[in-house]
Every structure is written in C-alpha cells, then in structure tokens.
Symmetry: C2
Subunit: 160 residues, 2 copies
Amino acid sequence: MPRSHEPAAGDTRCSIGRTLQILGDRWSLLILREALNGETRFSEFRDRLQIASDVLTQRLGVLIEGGVMEKRPYREAGSRSRMAYHLTAAGRELVVIFGALQQWGDQHCPHPDGPLVRRGSRTSGRSLRVAFVDEDGREAPVDDVDLGAPLRHGSARPVA
Amino acid sequence: MPRSHEPAAGDTRCSIGRTLQILGDRWSLLILREALNGETRFSEFRDRLQIASDVLTQRLGVLIEGGVMEKRPYREAGSRSRMAYHLTAAGRELVVIFGALQQWGDQHCPHPDGPLVRRGSRTSGRSLRVAFVDEDGREAPVDDVDLGAPLRHGSARPVA
C-alpha cells in the first residue's frame, strides 16, 4: 500500500480518529472556538478569523454534516432572512476538548502577558480545570491514565 | 486586509490558538495519538499511520520544535544507531486533550461495534472520564462552563 500524504478517511475503529474526521483541521477548530464563544453569524466568523468566504462555507458544511453545528434562519428589521450557525448539543460538548486545548496552552506555551481569560463556572464563578476523574469523582494524575485500557477490566461495562 | 485561506500564524493572545499552532493538523494529532500509545520509532509511526516518510519527517520536526517531542538515539544489536521520538513532559500532558477527543468520539460518533478500548487508571484499573472540576474537585456540568470567563472573577489569581 502506498504511503499517504493525507490521513486515511477509514480510520474508523478509533474514537480519536473519528472525532478528528469531523474537527479536521485548524480552521474547523478555530470556527468551533468562536461558536463556543457565542458567535453564530457568517460575517462574524469571517471577520473575527479573517477567513476567506469560500473556505468558511466549506468548513461550516463539514461541521453541519458532522452533526456539531446546525443552520437556523434569522431576520433583522429591514433586512432579508439570513442563516445563523449554532452548535448542536453534541457541538456544545466539544467544550471539554477546547477546555483541554486552552489549559494546555496556558501551561505549556504561555503568553508573556499571561492568559486573557480563564475557565470558569457560569453559576459559581469558580475557576475550573479539565481533569480525569473516576466514577466516584476522584481525580487521576495524567501519568496514571491509559487511553488504551482493555475493555471490562475493573469495570462492569465499557465506558460509553 | 485580505481574507485568508490559511489560519493566521499570529493568533497568539489565545491559548487555544497557540496550542493549535503546535498540534496543527490531523497528521500531527495522529502521530501524537500513536506516541501516547507508546510508539517511539519512525518506522512504527510510518507503518501504523501509512504516512509518507517526507510528511512524517516534517511533522515530527514541528512537534520537536513545539516542545512536545524529543529525539533520543537508540541502537539494536547489529544495527547502526537510530533516532527514537519520545514525548516530553509537556507532550505527555496532551493526554488530557486526547482523552477528551476519545470521549467525545465514543459518545457522539460511536462505532456500531462499540469502543475498542477505554480510558482507565493504570494503578486502579478504574474507568476514567474527562471533566471540568473546580479547586475542591467538584465537577461542573459542561453547560455551566465558560472558557472566556473574566480573570480574577471569583478567584484570587488567574488560572495558570
């Protein structure tokens, strides 16, 4: 089999591989970051990211196809109806991935002026970390984590 | 300013943007997935991912430059010395990001035959989830999380 310059599309037995088929590339991830910040409009995504319209259209299509965003019409007074782009429930759960990306960047490639924002609870205002926890909510240190642990070892059923 | 077909390299005030400059693309993420699974050799990365050698060399260079991997020589009996590619301490902490990618894939794009593996503790064997926790280890639901919370609100100092 010839070696490839593009990752194989069929890497489907691995959950990480399947997730990356949807998140795909840096543009898609940056679009999702803006969506998690509350942006919904084509022009907002385009202006904030300085992304070419054709690239933005294509990436939004992939994100809709992948079930993480959906189109909803909106209309401002005096304007024609337009489409807004909202996260689905599955899309909103991507916040765990983006929280982990943000936390790693804060720790391992910090900006000289420090972070601009932090991860916080909307209800309590308390700062939040992303961490591994077991069924009883006990935290496991990262060096103790095996992403490839065999199924059913120490657990009645596989983690969904 | 013209719209771009490539994300701006200078998006440095955002920790997510800085992290994505290193993780970059799907190949880099797949290489890191293999590294977190314990692979260290060029030929193993190449064969498992079916990646072209020139692309693998380039991506490994970016990961070394970004401080998440490092080269170490090794030598097998009867062979010449070769280079192995190991995760740095910062690279090993990427497991939080990959755990979040895996968990999201398990939940939102499951394989019909179920997951192959699970996230588990090496010491206790217990299953692990990736979650947001506060300073007291209390878990926050994803809908309560704000990745863009203002600094110093409800916290004596910004999260590092």
